[in-house]
Symmetry: C2
Subunit: 665 residues, 2 copies
C-alpha cells in the first residue's frame, strides 16, 4: 500500500525548473520592477493535455498569486511574474491534467470524423460542473449558464457550439481540480533588491586626502567640499575605506614599510586603537556627528555613502583586550597575527571563526553592521569576505536584510572562481570580478560570457573596477591616458555597475611601487595625498559624459542582454546591450590597443539587435557625436586611441515616416 | 544568534556533487562490480588546505565506508567506490580543514625562509595529539611516539624531520576533527543491479507460433524444442509476449481487422477472459506447470525468460466484472474503452489510475508482478509504461526491488524524450529507444552521444531493437538482407543490450501491411506463424558470430566508453568501445548504405583508444577475419554490403617483445 500522504492520482510531473540555484538552496536575485521568467518540463503519462502555472508570493505574506505558463514545445513551459517590492519572494510551479482542454480537442476530432458525440457532451458538462463548484461571482454564473445551454439546446450542433466557445475554455481553465494538482516541492527564492543593486556607479575616495591644505589630515568636513566634484562626474555611490581608529602597534609606514615614522598615518584597514574599534570614528576624520552630516550632504548631491566592512583588528583594538577568546592564542601565550608564510602581518589580527565563542563573535559582528545601518548607511563594501566562513555571511546578510531589505553588500574578493561565486550565492548583492586582469578580446569575451550568459547571471552581479588602491594593472601602467580611457569605457559599458578609485583614476596616476608590482608608488593606503583636481589631462569630463550616456540609456543599466559581435581585428572588441523590448540598442566598439589606430570590419548579429538586414540603420555615436549609416552585418570601423578609442553607438532603425525629419527611431 | 543546530565553525562547503540526478530525487544505476566515480567542489574560506572523502553505505546496513578524494584543480575533487552487491547503496561527501597538512606545508615555507619554528612545532604537536585522541591500535601508538619524539629530540632540525615524515601525514589524515567535518546534506542513491541489467541479448518470440504442425496452436512444450535454436544464436534472454488468456469480446482478426473469424487467435495483449486474467496462463499454451517447466528448460540453455507486463484488460477480464471501480464509467453507464480520437480500441479497457480506489488497484497490480516473481521470473518487459502514472511505477519497482533486488524491468515506451527519461529515473532498469528510427550517420551520432555521453548515462540504459512486432522500419523494408545485417551490427555493437523480434528478423521478413506502414503484413500479433528456420539467407550464423564477439570482448558489454570517430563519407560510420583500462579496444566501421559499396577515410581519435600516433597498430576484423596494419589517425576503409557491410576490429597495439611471435597486444 503506498504511503497515505501521497495522492497517487496526481499524474503530472514537474522537473527541470529554472532558474533554480543548487537545488533551491540559494536565492536568485532581481531588482524591483524586474520579472522572473520561470521554465519547467511539465508532463504526464498518457495522452491527456496538461496545463501549468507559476505560483509566487512574498515570503512574509500569505497572499499567493499565479501566472499561467505557455507551451514552448518538447514538454517545456514558460511563465513569468514581476517582483514589485524589495523583499524576498518565493515561487514554484503547479501542473495538472487539463481535463476540459483534453476533452475539447478530442471533441473536435470526433466531430470531424462524424462520430456521435451525445455522450461526450454529457462528459463535458460534468467537467464544467466540477469547475463551477469552485468558481464564484461572474465565472460561476457563466459556467452554470453554459451547463444549462449544453443540456437544453435542441440539437447536437447547437450544443457543440456552446461546448467549443473560446470563453468557456478560458473560464474553465481557471478552476482545475485542486485535489489532483501537482506542485513542485521546492519553494524557490528570489531576493529582490532596490534598483541600485543592478545599476550603480561607484567612486572610491580616501577622506583623509580631501584636505585643501597639504599639511593637514582631511576631515569629513573637507569631504563635503569634495562632493560637488564627485557628483559632477555622475557617480551615485561614494565609497570610503575604513573610517575607524587606526592602530599604533606595528603600524605600517609609507610604501608599506615595517617601521612607521611618528607622523605616518597608517593603513585604514588596520582597525582599532585605544580610541575605539569598528563602531568608532577615527578622531582625525571628525566625529560621528560629522560623519552623519557628511552622509546627509552627500545625499543632497545624489550620492549614497558606502562604507567598508573589514572584520580584522590591530593589537590595539578593544576586542584584543576584552575578547581574547575571539583570537587564536599560540602555545607560547601570544596572540596569533596574520601570516601567509613566510610573510608576516603583525599589524593585523585575524578573528578566529573556529573559536568556541563563535556565537558571541557572530553576534558582535552583526552588531557592527546594525550600528552603521542605524547611522543611515545602506551600502557596505566588504573587505576580504573570502577569509571568513560562508555560513557566517549567509547568516549575517540574511539577518540584516530581514530588517533592512534595502541594504546592499559588495564582496571584495579576488580569489578562486568557486569561492567568489559562493559568496554571491550566500547573499552578496554585488561582487568584484577579474575584470582588472582581462585585457584582450578573447579574455573579455570569455569572461563576460561566463558571468552574464550562464546561470551565474541569476545571482552574481559584477561590479567592475579598472583600478583599486590595491590594484594598478599593468595595462594602465604602460598604456598612458588612452589606456585609462579604454579601461574606463569597458568598465562603464560592459558593467551596469562599476567603480573607480579616484582621484588616482581620473588623474591617470600610473606609477607602480616597482616593476612587476600592482601596488601604487607612495600608495594612499599608507599616506595622505594632495592632488590638483583640475590638472590638464584629467578624465573628469570624459567620465561625466559616459556616466550621462549610462543614465540616458537603459540598455546600459543591466547586464542581462550583453552580446558580443565578431570583428576581424583582435584589437577591436564589439558588443551590444539592449533593453528586453529592443527600444534602446547600444553598440560599443572599443580599440583595445592604447598605442595604435586600429581599423577593421565588425560582423553584427543583426537578429539580436532587432535590425533588418535589408534596410539601412543608423549608428549615432554618443561619445564622438558622429553618425554612421550602415547596411547589413559587416561594417567598417576605425578608432584612434589618442582622440577617442571607442564608439558608443545608439542604433536607430529605419522608419518609413517620411513626414518626420528623423527617419531613424 | 545563529540557530543552535548549525555549527558555525564548519567552514568547508561542498557543492556541485556529481553524479546527482534531479537534486538526488532519483538514484543512479550501476551493476555489481562497477565503480561509482564521485566528483565535488570542496573548498573553504581563507587559505587553509581542505581534504575530503566519499562516504558510502548499503542502505540496509549501518556500516559506513569511505574512500579518499583526490584534488583535480580549480577546487574540484574526485573519489570512487565499488558496488559489490545488488542492492541500494547511498553515498555522500565529507570535507574538512586539513589542519595538519596546512600546518605542514607552512612549516616547510618557514624553514626555507630560515624562520624560528619552535612555537610552530608545539602547534603541530597539538594537532597530532588531537588526532591521537581519536586513533586506536597501531595508529595511536605511532602518533604517541611521534609526539614524544617531537618533544624530546634535542634540536630543532631533528624535530622538524619528525614533523615532516610522510607516514605521519598519512596517519594524521585518517583522524580529522569530527566536530568540524562538513557533510553534504543529500544521501545520494545508487541502485545496483546484477550484470544483465547492463549487458543482455534479447530474443522475442511468440510461443503460439512454435508448433511444428502449422495447423496447431503452439504450446510451452513446443517452445522447449525451440530453445536450442535460440541458444545457438547466443542470446541470453528469451522474451515472450503476454501468455495470459485472450479476450473474446471485440477480438481483432487477422491484420487487425475489426471482425474476427471464429478461428482467429486474437492479440496476446488483449488480456483476460472467463479463463482468467494477469495471473493466469492462456490454456492453449498449456498450464502454469508447463510454463514453469519451460522456464527451467530455458535456464538449462543459458536463457532467462522475460515476460510481458501489459496492464490493460478486455471486457472479458475478471477485473471488468469484479472491479468496475478500476475503470472509467461513461455517463450512459457503459465502461470506457481505449480511444485516441477518432480511433477507437473497443477490445482494450484502460485501467483508471484516477479511480478513488487507486490504492487497491496499485496493490493488485503489484500482486501480479509478485505472482510471476514467485514463479521464478526476474525480468519483465513492460508494455506502454508511459500510459500509467510515473508515481505508480516508482512505487511498484521500489517495492518489488526491496524484496527481489535481482529483478529487472524493461520499459517499452516510444514517446517524447522527457517521458522516456522520466520512466528510467523512476526505476526502469532498461529502456527502449528511438534506435529503430535513427539511420544516418548524423542521426546515430547525435542520438548516441545524447544517451551515452550526458547525465542520461547514469540512469538510462538503452536496449536497442532493430525490429519489434509493432515496428518494421522502412530501412528494413527497402534494404533487403544487407539492411538487416547493417541494423543488426549497429544494435549489437552500439548497445550493450539489444534485442530482436524473431524469427521474423533472422529470416529477413520485411513486407509491410501497406506502403507507408510500419506494421507487418499478416502480423504475428493477430495470427499463428509457421516458418522454415533453416531457410536460405537466414542470418542465424551471422547473429551467432556477432553474439560470440560480444561475449568475448568486454568493451562491447558496456555503453560508457562509446566514442565516435570522423569519416569523410556520410555512408560510413565509425565508433569505438573500450574497457576503462583500454585492455580491450573494439573499433566498428559500418557501411550504412545497403545498396552500394562505400569507401572512405576514417579519422581516429587515437588518444581515446590509447594508440600511439608514432607506431603502427593492427586492426583484427573479428567479423571478416582480415587483419589491417594501420599507422596514424587516417586510414582507408572499403565495405561491400552484400558480403559484409562492417568491420568489427579488435585493435592491438604495437609491442616491443621481439621474442614473441605476436607483436600486437
Amino acid at each position: 500500500m503506498p504511503e497515505e500522504q501521497v495522492d497517487g492520482r496526481r499524474r503530472v510531473v514537474i522537473e527541470g525548473v529554472r532558474p533554480e540555484i543548487d537545488c533551491g538552496q540559494f536565492a536568485i536575485k532581481r531588482v524591483v520592477g524586474e520579472s522572473v521568467v520561470v521554465e519547467a518540463d511539465v508532463f504526464a503519462d498518457g495522452h491527456d493535455q496538461v496545463a501549468c502555472r507559476v505560483v509566487y508570493w512574498r515570503e512574509n505574506s500569505k497572499e499567493v498569486e499565479s501566472s499561467p505558463m505557455k507551451f514552448l514545445g518538447n514538454d517545456r513551459w514558460r511563465g513569468e511574474f514581476c517582483v514589485a517590492s524589495p523583499e524576498k519572494y518565493r515561487y514554484t510551479v503547479e501542473g495538472w491534467i487539463d481535463r476540459f482542454q483534453s476533452w475539447r480537442s478530442e471533441l473536435i476530432k470526433r466531430i470531424a470524423a462524424g462520430q456521435d458525440v451525445e455522450v461526450e457532451l454529457l462528459i463535458g458538462a460534468k467537467i464544467i460542473e466540477d469547475a463551477a463548484k469552485q468558481a464564484s461571482g461572474e465565472d460561476a454564473k457563466f459556467l452554470r449558464r453554459s451547463i444549462n445551454r449544453l443540456r437544453e439546446e435542441k440539437d447536437v450542433e447547437s450544443k457543440t457550439s456552446v461546448a467549443l466557445e473560446p470563453e468557456l475554455l478560458d473560464v474553465v481553465a481557471r478552476y482545475p481540480d485542486r485535489e489532483l494538482v501537482s506542485r513542485y516541492e521546492k519553494h524557490l527564492a528570489v531576493v529582490v533588491d532596490r534598483e541600485k543593486a543592478r545599476f550603480s556607479t561607484w567612486y572610491e575616495m580616501f577622506p583623509r586626502s580631501c584636505s585643501p591644505d597639504p599639511a593637514r589630515h582631511g576631515t569629513f568636513r573637507d569631504c563635503e567640499a569634495r562632493l560637488p566634484y564627485v557628483a559632477s562626474m555622475g557617480f551615485d555611490v561614494i565609497y570610503l575605506p575604513p573610517i575607524h581608529p587606526i592602530g599604533h602597534t606595528f603600524r605600517k609606514g609609507k610604501n608599506n614599510s615595517i617601521s612607521a615614522q611618528p607622523d605616518d598615518v597608517g593603513s585604514p584597514w588596520a582597525i582599532g586603537s585605544e580610541e575605539g574599534g569598528h563602531k568608532s570614528i577615527h578622531p582625525q576624520l571628525g566625529t560621528l556627528e560629522d560623519f552623519r552630516h557628511f552622509v546627509s550632504a552627500a545625499k543632497g548631491h545624489g550620492l549614497e555613502v558606502a562604507i567598508d566592512i573589514a572584520f580584522q583588528c590591530t593589537m590595539d583594538h578593544p576586542y584584543a583586550k576584552q575578547h581574547r577568546e575571539w583570537f587564536r592564542t599560540r602555545p607560547d601565550g601570544t596572540i596569533q597575527y596574520a601570516e601567509n608564510p613566510p610573510k608576516k602581518y603583525q599589524d593585523i589580527l585575524p578573528l578566529d571563526f573556529e573559536s568556541p565563542e563563535w556565537h558571541a563573535l557572530w553576534d558582535e559582528l552583526r552588531g557592527v553592521v546594525l550600528f552603521w545601518l542605524e547611522q543611515g548607511i545602506r551600502i557596505f563594501r566588504v573587505d576580504n569576505p573570502h577569509t571568513k566562513p560562508f555560513s557566517f555571511w549567509e547568516w549575517l546578510i540574511g539577518q540584516v536584510k530581514e530588517q533592512y531589505p534595502d541594504v546592499l553588500f559588495l564582496a571584495e574578493a579576488f580569489t578562486r572562481p568557486h569561492v567568489m561565486y559562493r559568496l554571491a550565492k550566500v547573499g552578496f548583492s554585488q561582487s568584484y570580478t577579474y575584470f582588472a586582469w582581462r585585457n584582450t578580446k578573447d579574455e573579455l569575451t570569455d569572461y563576460f560570457n561566463e558571468i552574464t550568459n550562464t546561470e551565474l547571471r541569476e545571482y552574481f552581479r559584477p561590479n567592475l573596477w579598472p583600478n583599486t588602491p590595491d590594484i594598478l594593472p599593468e595595462f594602465l601602467q604602460v598604456g598612458g591616458r588612452p589606456a585609462f580611457m579604454i579601461r574606463f569605457i569597458l568598465a562603464a559599458t560592459l558593467g551596469a555597475s562599476y567603480g573607480i578609485y579616484g582621484p588616482a583614476f581620473e588623474l591617470c596616476e600610473n606609477t607602480p611601487y616597482e616593476s612587476g608590482s600592482e601596488e601604487y608608488l607612495n600608495s594612499e593606503k599608507y599616506e595622505l595625498k594632495h592632488r590638483d583636481l583640475d590638472a590638464a589631462g584629467s578624465l573628469k569630463d570624459f567620465i561625466a559624459r559616459i556616466n550621462r550616456i549610462r543614465k540616458e540609456n537603459p540598455a546600459l543599466q543591466s547586464d542581462r542582454n550583453l552580446r558580443f559581435h565578431g570583428t576581424d581585428n583582435p584589437s577591436l572588441i564589439c558588443y551590444s546591450k539592449t533593453t528586453d523590448d529592443l527600444s534602446n540598442i547600444i553598440l560599443v566598439v572599443v580599440n583595445l590597443d592604447p598605442s595604435h589606430t586600429q581599423a577593421g570590419w565588425i560582423d553584427l548579429d543583426l537578429n539580436s539587435l532587432g535590425l533588418d538586414a535589408d534596410h539601412a540603420f543608423q549608428g549615432h555615436d554618443l561619445l564622438g557625436e558622429g553618425r554612421y549609416l550602415w547596411h547589413g552585418a559587416r561594417n567598417y570601423v576605425e578608432l584612434t586611441p589618442e582622440s577617442l578609442p571607442a564608439h558608443i553607438l545608439q542604433m536607430r532603425r529605419w522608419t518609413r515616416t517620411e513626414h518626420d525629419f528623423d527617419y531613424y527611431l
